[in-house]
């Protein structure tokens, strides 16, 4: 008992109960895990910069010795000679990502506002169903969805990919939780008393207050759609996505090893850059993500 609380002051904060041994142990763990996460990424980038003789060298180099951008130029050459022009795949991916995200943003924010800020009969079970849906991955519903798509005559059209994305629930869930915790009822109430219509209150007052949440929704939806590969509803080659085309290059084997490595790097740049820009907003939104039971 004589040894009282350990209190240490670090650069930015006073911390309690922190032993040096614990700090070191955690530091080592973090370093090892970080290496496990980071090295494959480094290897991917290094691989994409290797000239042909280094790609097929024994023993292989982890880090490229004579970096070249030839793999990237090869990749673009491959894209230009493919049967369906690559710009078409890219167009499909951009179209799916943008329209899917836009629709999801509009529908989700409307629903999130109603569910979190208007007390109407039915909102309880509606939200409960949305929470329940978070527990199931979409594959489990894919069989029955195929029937829906054929009834709607949407098989082999991009609608089959875009419209279901509008009803994705994770973004709605995050936005609803965030609205609940950061938009005060008093502000909305006074706007209503001033004669602002419910719709106006939603657009003019609530939405500007939840900017981090809609940024998060955009990032999530965009990432999911950007990475979407072959869909079971799409057969036509000219309706397939960029990611699908990349995976075709990847499976091209030896000849295309360099271009394949370059293509994975190209695919990862967009989501990573988007996350770097929006990270603080996403973390802010996530602070409201908790699920109260």
């Amino acid at each position: 008992m004589a040894k009282a609380k350990k209190l240490r002051i670090r650069k930015h904060a006073v911390v309690l109960n922190r032993s040096r041994g614990g700090d070191t142990g955690i530091g080592i763990m973090l370093f090892l895990l970080g290496a496990f996460m980071f090295l494959p990424m480094v290897y991917a980038i290094s691989q994409s910069l290797k000239p042909l003789d280094e790609l097929w060298k024994f023993p292989p180099n982890f880090i490229v010795h004579n970096p070249t951008v030839k793999n990237y130029t090869d990749l673009f050459r491959l894209m230009n000679t493919s049967w369906v022009p690559f710009s078409r795949y890219l167009f499909n991916t951009v179209l799916i990502s943008v329209s899917g995200t836009f629709g999801n943003l509009i529908l989700s924010s409307m629903a999130a506002y109603a569910l979190s800020k208007i007390k109407f009969p039915g909102r309880g079970w509606m939200f409960q169903m949305i929470v329940l849906s978070l527990m199931f991955s979409a594959t489990a519903a894919s069989i029955a969805n195929f029937i829906t798509m054929s009834l709607l005559h949407w098989v082999d059209t991009l609608w089959a990919v875009i419209v279901p994305a509008w009803g994705s629930t994770l973004g709605l869930y995050l936005m609803k939780q965030f609205m609940e915790s950061s938009v005060s009822d008093a502000v909305l109430e006074s706007a209503r008393l001033d004669g602002s219509s419910e719709f106006n209150t939603f657009i003019r007052i609530a939405m500007p207050m939840v900017k981090p949440a809609w940024l998060t929704l955009i990032v999530y939806s965009f990432q999911g759609l950007w990475n979407s590969g072959a869909s079971i509803y799409i057969y036509s080659e000219e309706l397939k996505t960029f990611n699908y085309a990349i995976s075709q290059i990847l499976s091209g084997g030896i000849v295309r090893a360099g271009a394949g490595a370059a293509s994975t790097v190209v695919m990862m740049i967009v989501p990573v850059v988007v996350f770097v820009i929006t990270q603080s907003n996403i973390i802010e939104t996530m602070s409201a993500s908790g699920m109260k039971d």
Binding site: P60, F120, I143, N243
Partner: protein, 318 residues
């Protein structure tokens, strides 16, 4: 007091007790018309592509539907066939359970551990470390680099090293060998698994009330482990619940990684999972009734996992 009550009465002339439940509900619905206009578009899409498919799957799983003929009602025959007469399905269930039981908990604990480790770093360093850990989960097909790493010839990094160290003579065909496919796919899945739950934990740890830690220290919390168990974890239960749901959903949907690394089907079907079985019967053979039964089993497993997690989380900090 009475005046206030009267004023309230005047403002809201009808209270809940003045009328029947149904009439009150109808009145509330009319009063909140805008709310329904706001939720309706989302709900239509949500029902059409998520809720109805689940119900339809349940119904179709009791029939012989094949997209061509009118379905016959056959009670539980599909389920009997699944569990008693389909060896591949039993293998798929085993693999799926192994995969979920390893990746789910490990990625969950890993997400929390890393978030907790980096919680006390300065904000800038924390943002950078967050990016390093989170990047694999959003980088799409970049996990195929593991295929190069473990490539079956001598140019694969792992084989090259094992050969140089003299541990093996011939390169190992990692993804053609049934003994290695599952473990390797699990490692790769873990590599990509620090996603939404991880971010939720990072944010959750930041908003724990600091004064609780001080109060805890006064009340006899003596090290960081006690602090974690008695203060941080109970306080973070909402985030932990959300993270668990994300981890479970992730751990049941990993077919893509197996396909990209080990091919579809994998050697001897050694990494065959329920998702594969589902796609095989549903999208290739169009035995929709049978496939629906498979998806109902998948639903049941995810649901069971969620119930289990809820149970476990209610015991935190006790």
């Amino acid at each position: 007091m009475a005046k206030q009550a009267a004023a309230k009465q005047a403002k809201k002339p009808v209270s809940r007790k003045d009328m029947s439940r149904i009439r009150w509900t109808m009145r509330e619905i009319m009063r909140n018309k805008t709310a329904y206009v706001l939720v309706l578009p989302f709900m239509i899409i949500f029902f059409l592509f998520t809720v109805i498919p689940v119900v339809v799957s349940l119904a179709l799983s009791l029939t012989t539907f094949n997209m061509l003929q009118w379905p016959n009602f056959i009670f539980f025959d599909n389920y009997i066939r699944l569990f008693l007469d389909d060896d591949l399905f039993i293998k798929a269930i085993q693999n799926t359970l192994i995969f979920a039981a390893v990746t789910g908990p490990v990625s969950y604990v890993l997400s929390f551990a890393v978030a907790w480790f980096i919680n006390e770093l300065s904000p800038k360093v924390r943002a950078l470390v967050t990016l390093v850990f989170y990047a694999p989960s959003i980088s799409g097909a970049v996990y195929t680099i593991w295929g190069v790493f473990f490539s079956g010839n001598a140019y694969g990094y792992v084989n090259a090293w094992l050969m140089r160290l003299g541990l093996i003579e011939e390169p190992i065909q990692w993804f053609q060998n049934a003994a290695y496919v599952m473990p390797l796919c699990i490692v790769v899945a873990l590599w990509t698994s620090l996603g939404t739950a991880f971010l939720s934990f990072i944010a959750g740890l930041q908003i724990v009330d600091r004064s609780l830690y001080e109060a805890g220290a006064v009340d006899g919390v003596r090290n960081r482990w006690q602090e974690l168990w008695y203060i941080t974890l109970p306080y973070m239960r909402p985030q932990l619940m959300f993270g668990a749901i994300m981890a479970i959903t992730g751990s049941f949907g990993f077919g893509g990684i197996v396909d990209a690394l080990a091919g579809n089907p994998s050697v001897d079907y050694c990494a065959w999972t329920i998702t594969h079985h589902l796609a095989d019967y549903g999208n290739s053979r169009f035995e929709v009734g049978y496939a629906s039964a498979i998806s109902v089993v998948l639903f049941a497993m995810m649901f069971g996992a969620n119930l289990l997690i809820k149970r476990l989380l209610s015991k935190l900090g006790q």
